[in-house]
């Protein structure tokens, strides 16, 4: 379980996150939703040690995040940010193989390569695994990075807007993959997501942030209601039930 207690962060005196406390249950998919600038990505960065908090603490399985050894933590929790520009020229397969670094320290064993192959297959990228990342589209790049995170094979997978740059087909594909990671492999997935309908259709638990605070959290049924969304987004959003999913109609 990941537990955040009273996390706060400010940039240049301006508070971005104020006293956020939350729990991420094991084996569930948790989505962070909320308007732009609500502090979702900042919270995700703090619970993945990319960013140091000003105050508060993050506990990963009961142990403070700073107490973990970096390498052990990298086998426990992985994080993918929304922009992943790298300066090195790598093929998809080479990038994915970096996901095994916490295990192999750069000297990959047959076991490591098995994980790499599996991750590439999971993301359906076998036919482009030899291509260089700069030859691929933004969406394909995004999928390659997700494959790397899958190869890292951590219990907790944290993703910051994984659907950025992706078309509908690949968005659905990625959400299905993430769902499979949770259901089949028992992973814990936490994601920041903008499209509330994806959050509604795939998550187990939704946390809503607004102006640096958690305003509401709960199951899909509790969160995807006109009243809850009104509080989060200050919009009147009608909810339709389609094939058993709660779909938000907010376009008009």
């Amino acid at each position: 379980m990941i537990e955040a207690k009273h996390l706060s962060k400010s940039y240049g005196g301006k508070p971005v996150v104020e006293g956020v406390s939350l729990r991420v249950e094991k084996g569930k998919m948790t989505s962070f939703i909320g308007p732009n600038g609500a502090g979702k990505s900042t919270v995700l960065s703090m619970i993945s040690r990319l960013l140091a908090q000003d105050s508060g603490e993050v506990l990963i399985e009961g142990k403070e995040i700073g107490q973990w050894k970096s390498n052990e933590l990298a086998r426990k929790i992985s994080i993918l940010k929304q922009s992943n520009h790298i300066n090195v020229r790598l093929t998809v397969r080479e990038l994915v193989s970096f996901g095994r670094f916490p295990y192999s320290q750069g000297k990959l064993t047959a076991e490591d390569w098995k994980h790499v192959d599996e991750a590439i297959r999971y993301m359906d990228m076998q036919d482009m695994q030899g291509k260089y990342l700069d030859q691929l589209s933004g969406g394909q790049n995004q999928r390659a990075f997700i494959a790397m995170v899958i190869a890292q094979n951590t219990e907790y997978i944290l993703l910051d807007e994984p659907l950025n740059n992706l078309d509908m087909k690949h968005s659905v594909q990625i959400m299905k993959v993430l769902r499979r990671l949770v259901d089949e492999l028992g992973k814990t997935v936490v994601l920041v997501i903008h499209d509330i309908n994806f959050a509604s259709c795939y998550s187990d638990h939704i946390v809503a942030l607004k102006e640096g605070k958690v305003v509401r959290e709960g199951s899909v049924d509790e969160m995807i209601t006109t009243e809850a969304l009104k509080q989060i987004y200050e919009m009147d959003i009608a909810i339709q039930s389609i094939n058993g999913n709660r779909i938000c109609v907010y376009f008009t």
């Binding site: 993945s48 040690r49 990319l50 140091a52 970096s70 390498n71 052990e72 933590l73 990298a74 086998r75 992985s78 994080i79 993918l80 940010k81 992943n84 520009h85 790298i86 300066n87 090195v88 020229r89 790598l90 080479e94 970096f98 996901g99 670094f101 916490p102 320290q105 750069g106 890292q152």
Partner: protein, 312 residues
């Protein structure tokens, strides 16, 4: 071409050039000429290797292929010291040994202060460090120029000698000292080598993949500064070479693996320096300096790269 083959041919070229340098065109007593040539080659191999390694590591840490460690101002500080000594005490005042030790000590104090200032507060990023180094480097450069225009023209000639890297008057005792220093730093840096490939992916990926990022980057920056300080104190300002060889190594090796890139860039560095020194000694008979030749070839190479990129 496989990587092994590429490294092999670079090594062969380096060895061949060194052999030509050592044995060809031997005029005069073997006992006199040969040891002097050996010391020159040793100095070249050491400083060339150190500069190539330092630049490559520096570029990997900063994720930027057009930076060289000279941006933190060590070269300028060295020149300032050389100018100041001559300005204040005259050209005959400081022995080579003292100068060497003094230069290294001053550069290390500077780097220690700079890093301490930067890393005391968390959240200061690497580029801020580079910016401060750049500003201070410019300040040192201006101070040097100020003193240079005031001193006696004969004394200025002495300063000018120091402005360009030279392998012509290597002191053997200093060479031994530098060799021990470089070897120790090399040994210490081995433990960080496996991290370099991952560091090249940027901070976030490196943290995600379990690298103690701040710890590693601080140590590597200190290693880079030490290498530069020792090489500069030994032969003069020579960081210009690093930019050239690091980029040629990337271009030639076409890989992301630092074990190969480092080996490649060190060999290219040795080839460039031995080749350049051969030209200086045997073709131009000391009428020009090594820096001029390396800069000329390096400039030409970058123009070629620019033109080629333009066409495609």
């Amino acid at each position: 071409m496989t990587h092994k083959w590429k490294l092999g041919s670079l090594a062969a070229a380096a060895v061949a050039l060194i052999a030509v340098f050592l044995f060809a065109n031997m005029i005069g007593s073997f006992d006199y000429v040969f040891p002097r040539r050996v010391f020159k080659v040793l100095a070249i191999v050491m400083t060339g290797g150190a500069i190539a390694f330092a630049t490559l590591v520096f570029q990997t840490i900063t994720n930027n292929r057009i930076l060289t460690p000279s941006i933190i101002g060590l070269d300028s500080l060295y020149m300032l010291l050389q100018t100041f000594v001559i300005f204040a005490f005259g050209s005959m005042s400081l022995s080579a040994e003292l100068n060497f030790i003094f230069s290294i000590a001053l550069m290390m104090v500077f780097v220690a202060l700079l890093y301490r200032l930067m890393f005391k507060r968390e959240g200061r990023n690497l580029y801020f460090l580079l910016l401060v180094g750049l500003v201070l480097g410019t300040l040192f450069g201006s101070l040097s120029t100020f003193m240079q225009v005031l001193i006696d023209p004969n004394e200025f000639m002495r300063v000018q000698d120091k402005m360009f890297a030279s392998f012509n008057n290597i002191r053997t005792d200093l060479l031994l000292f530098a060799a021990i220093g470089l070897a120790l730093i090399g040994l210490y840096s081995m433990r960080f080598m496996k991290f370099l490939d991952v560091l090249a992916l940027g901070r976030e990926q490196a943290v995600n993949l379990g690298i103690p990022y701040d710890y590693t980057v601080k140590r590597l920056l200190i290693i880079v500064a030490l290498l530069i300080a020792i090489s500069t104190a030994l032969v003069g300002p020579i960081t210009f070479l690093g930019l050239l060889v690091a980029n040629v190594a990337h271009q030639f090796m076409k890989t992301y693996r630092h074990s190969l890139l480092i080996a490649g860039s060190m060999l290219i560095s040795i080839i460039a320096l031995v080749g350049g020194q051969l030209l200086v000694e045997r073709v131009f008979t000391f009428s020009t300096t090594l820096s001029v030749i390396i800069n000329f070839i390096g400039g030409g190479y970058f123009l070629y790269l620019l033109l080629r990129e333009n066409r495609t």
